[in-house]
Symmetry: C2
Subunit: 157 residues, 2 copies
DNA sequence: CCGTTTCCTTGAATCAGTCAAATCACGGCG
DNA sequence: CGCCGTGATTTGACTGATTCAAGGAAACGG
């Protein structure tokens, strides 16, 4: 990372504070962390940090483009520092683990819908649902069960 | 609709009750309704209907495959009766309006990620974010503002 | 080093959704 | 046609994630 967190914050017009640096550090170590995780981990760096402070910091980071908020259905929000590089996410239905997926295709046909119903689209968000390797190994029979509760059928496309 | 709601419920192994028929009716008239909307509208058909009953009904419908639950980030869950036909959604950042998008492409390259990080993927969910026609007309300057708060950049693909 | 502005803390409130116990009614059986 | 058992609904309380508001503290320009 050529630029430091300090520089990034200043460039974004934000003051450099201990809570913000702590949160940034945590997010750098753990991409896709939820608020709870961030609070716990950041307290190692700043023991008096309050959850509300973390919410405030995250909102500031997201608003200024330093962080991105993702909200998998049925789970608390997650935050990541990878921004502006067009990537999507794999989410495990069983444990909630999240992995990044680079979008290899420049102009994906499915992502520029023919009929936009009068909408002006500025972003296409893709979430891949499945089971991570650990969960598949741990509970081999889970697939059918899990699928039953969510949308059935194969991969939508 | 060749089959009646009664038949669909019985086929799914569910009892035919007034709350369920009311909710189905409402969903048929208003695709993409949230729980609040469903409760209000369904009370016209069944005045003593409780919110918890609606939650129960919706859970039963989703579990049995008669309805689908969608959860746009930052909004309460929405429900629809279109199931099993691989379609996605357009969501208005301003008013939350939702429209269906048929997925015209059979095998979309972006939807079978090359590197699945060990995940077994069973569904690809796509959400197109933008502004609906009404919101664009109503508040022509909103686009920039709105985008500032969410992920910036052009259409991810 | 001081003042202004922004940020963090503390405490309370909101909202969506869930849990649990008791009542009610669908629909099979006699 | 009416009874019974299972499953559904009602009522009420509760959790968990997130937000709001007021006062105090800290950043940073001068």
């Amino acid at each position: 990372m050529a630029t430091t967190w300090q520089e990034q914050l200043r460039t974004a017009g934000l003051r450099v504070t201990r809570p913000r640096l702590s949160v940034l550090q945590v997010l750098a170590e753990r991409p896709h962390a939820d608020v709870d995780t961030i609070v716990s981990a950041a307290r190692a760096l700043h023991p008096t940090l309050s959850p509300q402070a973390v919410y405030g910091v995250l909102q500031a980071l997201v608003s200024s483009g330093l962080a991105r908020r993702i909200e998998p259905a049925g789970a608390p929000a997650l935050f990541e520092l990878r921004v502006g590089d067009n990537h999507h996410h794999l989410v495990c239905r069983s444990c909630g683990a999240v992995a990044d997926v680079d979008c290899t295709v420049g102009a994906a046909p499915c992502l520029t819908p023919s009929d936009t119903a009068g909408f002006v689209v500025d972003e296409a968000e893709v979430v891949f649902w499945g089971l991570c390797r650990e969960c598949r190994v741990r509970t081999p029979g889970v697939t059918a069960q899990v699928l039953q509760h969510d949308n059935r059928g194969g991969v939508n496309a």
